[in-house]
Amino acid sequence: MTFVYLLVFGFAATAVLGLITSWIDRKVTARVQYRVGPPFLQPFIDIVKLLGKETLIPAGASKGTFLIAPVIGISGVIAVATLLWVNQFFSEGFMGDWIVTIYLLAIPSLSIILGGFASRNPLASLGASREMKLVIAYELPFILAALVPVINAHSIRLSVIIDSQAGGVFAGSLSGILALIVAILCVQAKLALVPFDIPEAETEIVGGALIEYSGPGLAIFRLMKNMLFFTLPFFLIILFFGGLRLNGINILWTVLEYVGIVAIITVIRNTNPRVRIDQAVRFFWGPMTLIAIVAVVLALKGL
């Protein structure tokens, strides 16, 4: 039964929803720039096309690490997605809690870093090191913001966090809305989207950590990123909006919440220039952390 969850929810549903999200993102971006934008199936076609392209391995690189890195990344995303889906629908708890989710979410970044390091390319090294710095930058406000629902629900079990929002979502309180703002910006960085696409920065380090990847390796990384694009907003919905509610009128709300988060992320990415890595660290350790601390203090006071 567990493997049915894994295949159906963790992999298939997450991948499909992730690809759709990526299409929404690209379509909105295109409309902002007065373009028509890609057809609905384009993200899926991209992946299939990449699978048919040649696999290139940089000479003198660590072949094993280079090839296994994308696989580690996608397995991390699948594990998180399965965990979130099953905890969403079964209240007895499954596999892990809040702490486990936060730690599993580090695996995709880890895989990009390992892959970049293993490429034997100076530009990939630079990109991966930026990714690492970005991780330590956003991790501080992200932990604080994600703590707010834990404080409100008095539990680290995701199912309890979902259940305790039956009467009113955490995003409705002052602490919740502050934490949500911080968390969305952290997700922006977790997805490495503009203005925090510093690790990839096509115009300066030519794709950074992914520079040497081609064919299936790149396809897996693309799929992993698309799946993350669904999983991270899903995690935020669980934390701040009481999870996906699939009954009656609430379906509409859930879809609105999800599309709303994705739309905010997309709009931010289309209206901002890329920042430097030191500016990003300053931004996350400075104002973002301050807002998150305010949110935590308010939550402790019960606001």
């Binding site: 290139l56 391995i57 397995s75 580090a106 034997r120 090294s125 680290i156 520079i211 040497e212 299936p216």
Partner: protein, 567 residues
């Protein structure tokens, strides 16, 4: 007569030795690390002089450790504790770095100094518990089951004295400064054997015992412990981020990890304490694995300077695999063992929430600490094993030497333990061994089904591989890396070493000043105390300058003071 006395002591009539489940487990780990230290040293220490003494010291250390773990009286423990400090000093001296003598002296001073505090603490406990019972009462003062409440000033001082001995042994702040220096200058097997494993076992075992059996903790003292633990985690890991030397960097992590254990013991609830003890065992496993792998790198390349390394995965793939597994464990990536114990610790912190909102601070310090640990190990993995090879690495790769049995055996066993203890987490042996020690039922508020999660991750890997197989993996082609059309070999300047990956962070606002102070060793108790003592020296040398008139002046002044006091 004296022979009979020894026989009696061995038969354990007066109860000098006794075992508890926890101490047995510690002893089993100590035995494992002793065996590994000896096996590893066979190759690593080859060709140095006086090796017979080296092995005798290793053995003596092991026996003294067993003595401490099983001793039931304070005095026996104190004597063996001091003996261990001496052994550490002697073992460090086998290193052949420039700074070795100074580092050995530093560790002797710090550990020996806290031994004095330990003695003071024991004397205080003796006065508190049994009043004036003469020397024999002192000699038979029992270690354990005293339940002294931390109410009076004497009790608190006694606890702090004992705790500082434990801190110095384990390497927690503020007595940590000997550890990074020792890690840099001592032979690697010694570092892996003592500061990385046995000293951790002893220090945290002792801290746990005094916290649970000897004293009854107050919320205030728990908060002090948790604050010290969090400070240790953060400060040490921030220092580790910017180190330039492989072994010294690992040494800072040895400090940082102690913070988690102190923090866990400070939570004062069974979950947190069990987490701390579990973390102690996990830490000894991955930390010695890291040191031993680092030692192999140093032996093959002849340097531990990070800027001269890189790309070594081609020369030692298995060592890299062990290093990677241990790095992921220490950074708390699921499903490795470091995560299992950190997960327990965090719940302990959350359960301690009764004391205001401070728990958020401890939790965030611990969780951010583990992200920073990951960062600093990613830097190591890049600068040592991956990335672009340096000149030295090229030579090592071309030599095609194999890592021997004496290196790979310990690394394999330790890596398997990292995975095994992570996957089976808490369930297999540890639950039974800890529950009598932590005084209470260990009930987790959270969920971590480690076996299930491992299955998930493995199936995820399978899905990933299937995608590869659908693709064109079989026709993979090897091409030169693309660096804007340049060739890497012809432009050695393009090599990114990775030593300065985190320089941007070092130069951020407030951190810049703190790092500068740390470089000037403002936070090093040894150096600060040294300056303090030197200050006294200046006063004394001013007073004793050998000129009769000044001595006469002191004489008059003393007489005046005496007159005033007496009249």
């Amino acid at each position: 007569m004296s022979f009979n006395l020894i026989i009696d002591a061995l038969k354990n009539p007066n109860g000098f030795f006794a075992s508890s489940p926890l101490s047995l487990l510690c002893a089993a780990f100590a035995a494992m690390f002793f065996v590994f230290a000896v096996i590893y040293s066979l190759k690593h220490m080859k060709g140095r002089t006086g090796l017979w003494r080296y092995y005798i010291y290793l053995l003596a250390t092991f026996i003294a450790t067993l003595g401490i773990l099983f001793s039931t009286t304070f005095v026996l423990l104190l004597v063996l504790w001091g003996f261990l400090g001496l052994m550490l000093y002697l073992l460090i001296s086998f290193g052949n770095n420039e700074g070795t003598p100074e580092s050995a002296r530093k560790s002797l001073v710090i550990i020996g100094g806290t031994d004095v505090l330990l003695l003071l603490g024991i004397v205080l406990i003796w006065r508190i518990v049994s009043g004036d019972t003469g020397l024999s009462g002192f000699l038979h003062l029992k270690f354990g089951n005293l339940a002294i409440p931390l109410t009076g000033r004497g009790q608190i001082i006694a606890y702090l004295c004992l705790a500082s001995a434990a801190f110095a042994k384990a390497g927690a702040m503020p007595f940590h400064t000997w550890l990074p220096d020792t890690a840099r200058d001592a032979p690697v097997p010694v570092t892996a054997y003592l500061p990385a494993s046995l000293d951790k076992l002893l220090g945290i075992y002792f801290l746990a015992r005094i916290t649970l059996d000897v004293f009854v903790m107050t919320p205030l003292m728990n908060t002090v412990l948790m604050a010290l633990g969090s400070l240790t985690i953060m400060a040490a890991v921030m220092m580790a981020l910017v180190q330039h030397d492989l072994k010294r960097l690992l040494g800072y992590h040895a400090v940082s990890q102690v913070g988690y254990m102190v923090l866990g013991i400070g939570t004062g609830n069974p979950v947190g304490i069990a987490g701390a003890l579990f973390h102690m065992f996990n830490n000894t496993i991955y930390k010695s694995s890291l040191f031993l792998a680092g030692g192999e790198v140093e032996r093959r390349t002849g340097t531990s300077d990070l800027s001269k390394l890189g790309g070594l995965v081609k020369a030692m793939p298995l060592v890299f695999a062990a290093f990677l597994i241990a790095s992921l464990s220490i950074s708390g990536i699921p499903p490795f063992n470091g995560f299992a114990s950190k997960w327990m610790l965090y719940q302990g912190i959350i359960l301690s929430a009764g004391s205001g909102g401070l728990w958020v601070l401890w939790l965030v310090a611990a969780m951010l600490g583990s992200a920073l640990t990951l960062a600093s190990f990613m830097k190591l993995i890049h600068t040592v094993f991956l990335g672009q090879p340096s000149e030295i690495s090229q030579k090592v790769i071309e030599k095609k030497e194999k890592s021997g049995f004496s290196t790979l055996l310990p690394l394999t066993v330790l890596s398997l333990l990292c995975i095994g203890l992570g996957v089976f987490a808490w369930k297999i042996p540890f639950a039974d061994y800890f529950s009598p020690e932590v005084k209470g039922q260990v009930d987790f508020p959270g969920i971590w089904q480690s076996g299930l999660a491992t299955m998930m991750l493995i199936s995820g890997l399978v899905i990933g591989f299937l995608i590869y197989l659908v693709g064109t993996l079989k026709k993979a082609r090897i091409v030169e890396p693309f660096v804007g059309g340049e060739t890497l070999e012809k432009n050695p300047d393009m090599r990114v070493s990775g030593v300065d990956f985190y320089k941007t962070i070092m130069e951020l606002g407030l951190l810049k000043g703190i790092y500068r102070w740390a470089e000037k060793k403002f936070f090093d108790l040894y150096v600060v105390a040294g300056k303090f003592v030197a200050g006294f020296g200046i006063i004394f040398s001013f007073m004793h300058n050998g000129i009769l008139s000044r001595y006469f002046l002191w004489f008059i002044a003393g007489l005046v003071v005496l007159c005033i006091v007496l009249i």
